[in-house]
Symmetry: C2
Amino acid sequence: MLIVGEKINAVRRSVVAAIERRDAEFFRKEAVRQVEAGADVVDINAGSDPQREADNMRWLVEVVQEAVRAPLCVDSPNPDVIKAGFGAYRGPARLWANSFTAQKARVEGVLPLVKDHGGPVVGLCMDEEGIPTTARARLKVAQRLAEQVDRYGIPRKSLYLDPLVEPVAVLPGRAAVVLDLIRMIKSSLEGVRTLICLSAVSHGLPNRKLLNRTFMVMLIEAGIDCVILDPLDRELRATITASRALLNQDEHCLDYIAAFRQDALGGKQRAGEEG
Amino acid sequence: MLIVGEKINAVRRSVVAAIERRDAEFFRKEAVRQVEAGADVVDINAGSDPQREADNMRWLVEVVQEAVRAPLCVDSPNPDVIKAGFGAYRGPARLWANSFTAQKARVEGVLPLVKDHGGPVVGLCMDEEGIPTTARARLKVAQRLAEQVDRYGIPRKSLYLDPLVEPVAVLPGRAAVVLDLIRMIKSSLEGVRTLICLSAVSHGLPNRKLLNRTFMVMLIEAGIDCVILDPLDRELRATITASRALLNQDEHCLDYIAAFRQDALGGKQRAGEEG
């Protein structure tokens, strides 16, 4: 499973302020800390101010690519902003385009860029009508996204379908829709992968980290391929390590035992200890 | 989901010692603490010494029934020990018989008692040949257990099928078999319920509580009906509360928010807080 570090995102006030004052050091540090903590990819979201998002994205990509060799994930609903981010990149890695939907403007704005550049692309399971409420209806949109990727000659393994997590506090029942949809995509849409933006699930509730890491377990069991999350959350990382050990994704539990030895699992109980 | 408190079990050295010295107060406290922490049922396991298990079970049932009104779960592989426990009970609740298998002696030793008493019974998905390795083979045993229950005129809703958790440290891949089997039972064996003894999954590994609560999330998502666990484990309880909130088993997340207000979720983050 791939981890995309979520922290360079203009939903955070500290990020907005650092963009405003063009604080390159802030972003270099944020990128390095996430990669050191296990992020495979670094998400870059420059906010949503239509006047400035493209400029900000361009600057962020310029700054962050100097700090890490990991791929960056250029994150915007606006294809022009994604284009600006791609234009600023001179590194060796393949950029991720995050995201397109089944809406015509986003297909036509993003997929040519992806075809040209050769990196992964995130497809949100929504269309002109918005986000379908059922797993079955979202699967139909997922199929349309896969068809578009085929049409542009982009390999299916480059497509990361995002089932779209919604806050359980507002839309109860939708977390289960996401899990169902991941399983449906796995069994019916050959070759494509799945990606989730984890923390949306807990929006509006207290102790969000507990909900996030609990949902993470369910996502891993459902077969998620990639998650956008906070790689600096130690308990979340321990939960991922434990999930992989339980699901036979960690041979002889070696990663689990290594994490324990590095004191990265929390808790104090030893092997074989009974109450 | 029902919770069976696991702590009165002679795998614990402190329990063995307290049985030896006939320390009634120890067991009354263990029972009360578990029920206060949320156990719906109190498991009673008197060890496996063939000379003394029946006597010890009889004494434990006598002692614990004075302390709590919750049902007791008489836990032994030996039908004679279960019979001894049932014989000692004078309370109003329905005792649980834990357990029988597809083996003839255990069917014939336990099911007449259950039919007579009218309580739930735990059926382990194993037979004369041992524990089948695949989910499909275990499902066949589960079907045989359900047929036996039918044959004795015991209602199917009284049958709690135990898919049998094995340690991932020794048998990797078997945790996934358990999850598959729970889903198969739910979809193909009408009316019966499922039960798990949680902590077996983590045997032999460090930080067992992390593995236990991580597996708990997967079990809840798979639809488990009843779990034998340590109700005094606060983080496990918080994880169960979070899982229910995510899966729309907690209307408007009211239990989750109440647990947060009672400081029962751990963590310090508040609603809406961002980094």
